[in-house]
Structure formats: C-alpha cells, structure tokens
C-alpha cells in the first residue's frame, strides 16, 4: 500500500452535468510550448476532427465555445439522439461502426438551423476554463472515463450511486431491485460514515429522492460540506451535487445553477468546482487525507472524438420501446467520454491515465467505477453488486508515496479580476 493510500480517510466525488471531454479539455492537446505539445499525453483534439452537417459539409471542431447561450436548445442526449451521434444513422444490426460522425446532424434536428447546429463542435481553450484545466494538468486526468450509458442523466447517475441503472436507459424513476443497495446504504450498513451533499433545498438531489425519506441522515447541503471540511468532520465517503437551477436565495439574492448543464453558465460551475477544491485544500488535515474526483455524468450531446468501447454487460436489457431506436440495448457498450480528474496531494503533477488510445494498456473507467472504488476501499469489496460493478476499474491506486509540497499546488481565488 502506498503512503497516499494509507493516509486516505475521505473520498469525495463531485459529479457535474452534461459536457464532453473534448468540449471541456480537448483543447489541452493543442497547447504548444517550445514548438512541442505541452500536454502530449492528453487524448484531446488535433483541430482537424469533423462531422458532416445536414448539407453534407464537413464541419471542423472550433475553439469558440461560449459560457452560455450557445447550446440553446439543450442538445439531445437521450438514447435515440446519442445513438445518432455515435453511429451517424447507421442501420441497426451487427457491425455498426461507432464513427462519432452524427453530432452536427443530430443537433440540426433541434436547431433547424444549419449554422447553429455547428455549435455542437465547439470546444473551450484551456484559458477559458482555468479551474478545470489547472486541475487536469496538475493532478490525474483520465483519458478514458466514459458515461455508463449512451443516454441521459438519470440512468447515468444511477450507475454512480448503485453500479447499475436497473435496466433503465432514460429519465424515469426506477425501482431499486434487491439485493443491490446504493453506496450510501452499503456504508451505513457497515457502520461507516457517508453523506450526499446537495446544494440547497431549491436545487435538491437528483434521482435518488427515495433516500430523502428513507435515509435522511445521509443528506446535507453544500454549506455543511464547507463546514465539514473546515472542522475536519468529513464523512468517509461524500458525493456532491451542484446547483441545478437558477433561483433566488433565502435573502433574495441570485443563485446561479452551477451544474454546467446547457444552457447554465459554465463559469459558475468553474467557481463551484474551485470552491470544493479550496474547501478541502484549506484544511491541511483534510487535504492530506482526502481524494477528490471531479467527473461529469454524461456528454450532454456535445461532440467527442473517441468512440465508446465495449463493457461488461449489466445483465439487463432495455427493449426497443425503451431505447426508441428500434433495437434493444444490452448494456454492452459505454456512453460518450466525459471529463474526469482525480485530485490528491499524493498524485504526481501531470498524471495521465491512458484510455483507448493506449490499446492493450488502456484503463477504461465509467460511473460504476465509483461504487466499485467505494466498496473496495471502505468495505473490502463486501457488498452485493452487479457483475458490471464488480468488474469496473477502480482508481485509488493513482495515489502514490510522495505528498507534493504546498508550493507545487494550485489554489483558486474567486471573484472579479
């Protein structure tokens, strides 16, 4: 066991909303320094990736992503839409190629405007996202973390909580099928500590509302997370939900959604991520004993160039009515790639976890990796779980032996500059 792992007491997972890897971090591959790529290990963009639009014109990726008002209407990320994005309308059946060529055409079905459909190929340059880009280059960036299902939020977040979506590929509330329990219930049953921090009551939690009544003790708010960091009272496992909607605060102030779901402001999400990092980093005892995973639930219909790989089947099947594609889905391949970063003082600067570009050396992650990691680390793997979760990659081996000095670590200052 490494020093970092032996010191680890807390795992914190922050799950943001609906942005693809290339959209947020693909621009890292285009940063040059001294005539060479500054981040050669990042499997980002070359700048030449393209998709045909509805007129057949090839549209290249472009660095013009906006913080807000660019991806409105919200790009389709439900199962049929993602199927179109990945397979570009190829007929159902064996041998379909995951070409990643259908994003622009799919967005056109919503915008009905050829020029606006090109927005789906936009990406942020790293200077636009100082928080995410800094964390990605200072700690461990996963080249191959994929959403669990080529579909929307609810089924994907289910994998993060339960290691399965219980056969769901959509947004409907699902039945929890025994003996599978959420990570939080597994922790409680073993006498461990856990919290799910939602932002506030006007934003609340997404999806696992059944636990609000049945296990209210596991819930707390963002303010409590900040206080728990300051007081060194973090539970062993924490899951944080951002603010999901614009609303007025208790005193009448304006609270912006921080989830980065289009068309919410991306910079507010940057602030939120920074505040979580700062809260952990601000208490040396917490910082030394905590690993923070920042990950996105799914790609939100936005372009990424990496075809999702096959995965261990979930033992479930969604029929053609549920998928809406005319074909069933056997949970045997993953969804589109998303940003994922693991943060700890025991992670070497610039760590890149290889993805599909590494061939046989690839390490593939998806949201079932979260309960798998929680269960393996805190519970010695002792829980009833799906075959999918049991075989999911875990990530705490990335913590090494050496704690980086304070001077080698970033901190974020929030506000106007």
């Amino acid at each position: 066991m490494t020093v970092g792992l032996s010191k680890l007491k807390h795992l914190v997972v922050l799950m943001m909303e609906n942005r693809s890897f290339d959209h947020m971090l693909g621009g890292l591959s285009l940063v040059m320094e001294g005539g060479k790529k500054k981040y050669p290990g990042v499997n980002g963009l070359t700048g030449n990736e393209s998709n045909p639009d509805s007129n057949g014109k090839l549209i290249q990726v472009n660095p013009n992503a906006k913080f807000q008002s660019q991806l409105d209407p919200d790009p389709d990320h439900h199962f049929p839409g993602v199927d179109m994005q990945i397979f570009n309308g190829a007929p159902q059946g064996p041998g379909r190629v995951r070409s990643m060529q259908g994003f622009v055409k799919d967005y056109f079905t919503q915008t009905k405007d050829v020029n606006r459909s090109h927005n789906i190929m936009s990406y942020f340059t790293p200077d636009k996202l100082p928080v995410l880009s800094t964390l990605a280059t200072q700690f461990a960036l996963f080249n191959g973390w994929f959403s669990s299902i080529p579909g929307p939020t609810i089924c994907n977040r289910a994998f993060a909580h339960y290691g399965t979506s219980f056969g769901q590929v959509g947004m409907d509330i699902f039945e929890i099928l025994a003996p599978i329990m959420s990570s939080y219930e597994r922790m409680l049953a073993a006498g461990k500590t856990t919290k799910l921090y939602y932002f506030d009551q006007s934003s609340s939690t997404m999806e696992i509302v059944n636990l609000l009544k049945n296990q209210p003790q596991i819930f707390a708010t963002y303010d409590q997370f900040i206080a728990d960091c300051a007081g060194n009272t973090l539970p062993e496992y924490s899951f944080i939900e951002p603010c999901y909607n614009d609303h007025e605060g208790p005193g009448g102030g304006q609270i912006l959604a921080s989830d980065q779901h289009p068309d919410h402001n991306v910079q507010e999400g940057e602030k939120f991520i920074a505040s979580i990092y700062n809260a952990i980093r601000g208490n040396p005892a917490v910082w030394d004993s905590t690993a923070l995973l920042v990950v996105y639930d799914e790609h939100g219909g936005i372009y990424d160039h990496v075809p999702p790989p096959d995965c261990t089947p979930d033992g479930k099947s969604a029929d053609e009515t549920a998928t809406g594609t005319g074909a069933p889905f056997n949970f045997d391949y993953l969804g589109v790639r998303v940003p994922a970063i693991l943060i700890s003082p025991y992670i070497a600067k610039g760590t890149i976890v290889p993805g599909t570009e590494a061939g046989a050396n690839a390490r593939i992650f998806e949201h079932a990796s979260i309960p798998a990691t929680v269960t393996n680390f805190f519970l010695n793997g002792d829980a009833k779980r799906t075959n999918r979760e049991a075989k999911a990659s875990t990530f705490l081996d990335l913590l090494g032996d050496v704690a980086r000095p304070d001077a080698d670590l970033p901190f974020f200052t929030l506000g106007k500059h």
């Binding site: 200072q138 947004m171 934003s203 609340s204 303010d223 912006l256």
Partner: protein
C-alpha cells in the same frame, strides 16, 4: 515559493435567468420528487396539488423542489439557518 494562484472569473452580469424554461432534467426531477411524496408521505396535499406539468420556468421548478425537499428531508436545515460549524 508561494502556492500557484489561479484566478477564477465571475460569470457575466445578466447570467441569472430564473425565467429560463426548465429543461427535461429539471422537469423529471419534479416528477421523481412527486413520486417520492406519493410513496412516503400522507400529509402533503398542498404540494401535491401542484401539477408539475404546469411548471414552466426554473423559478417555478425551484419553488416546487424547495417545498418538496423541505417535507422529504426533515433533517435538513431551514434556508434561513446559517451553516453549522
């Protein structure tokens, strides 16, 4: 050497828009909360009288979500209470 300082900009003024039409995710959240209320609570007639399908804006949704969560999550602090230490 001091730690590396990264400045994080504020969103532009005017970013706040609680009259924005709520998306599918937010609307589905209200349906999930409503389902939870139906399953677990008997004394929420007032909130249940609101039809989520009538909700249009994020303000509408946030009001609904706040009321539902306040009932469901009885251990949560009230909005007016300051963060605990």
């Amino acid at each position: 050497m001091p730690p590396i300082e990264i400045k994080v900009p504020e969103p532009a003024k005017g970013s706040f828009d609680h009259n924005r039409l709520a998306g599918k995710l937010l609307l589905s959240q209200t349906l999930h909360l409503r389902e939870a209320l139906l399953r677990h609570l008997k004394d929420v007639a007032e909130v249940l009288a609101i039809n989520p399908k009538d909700l249009k804006t994020e303000r509408d949704v946030s009001n609904y979500v706040q009321r539902a969560t306040a009932i469901l999550h009885t251990q949560a602090r009230k909005p007016s209470e300051k963060p605990g230490k």
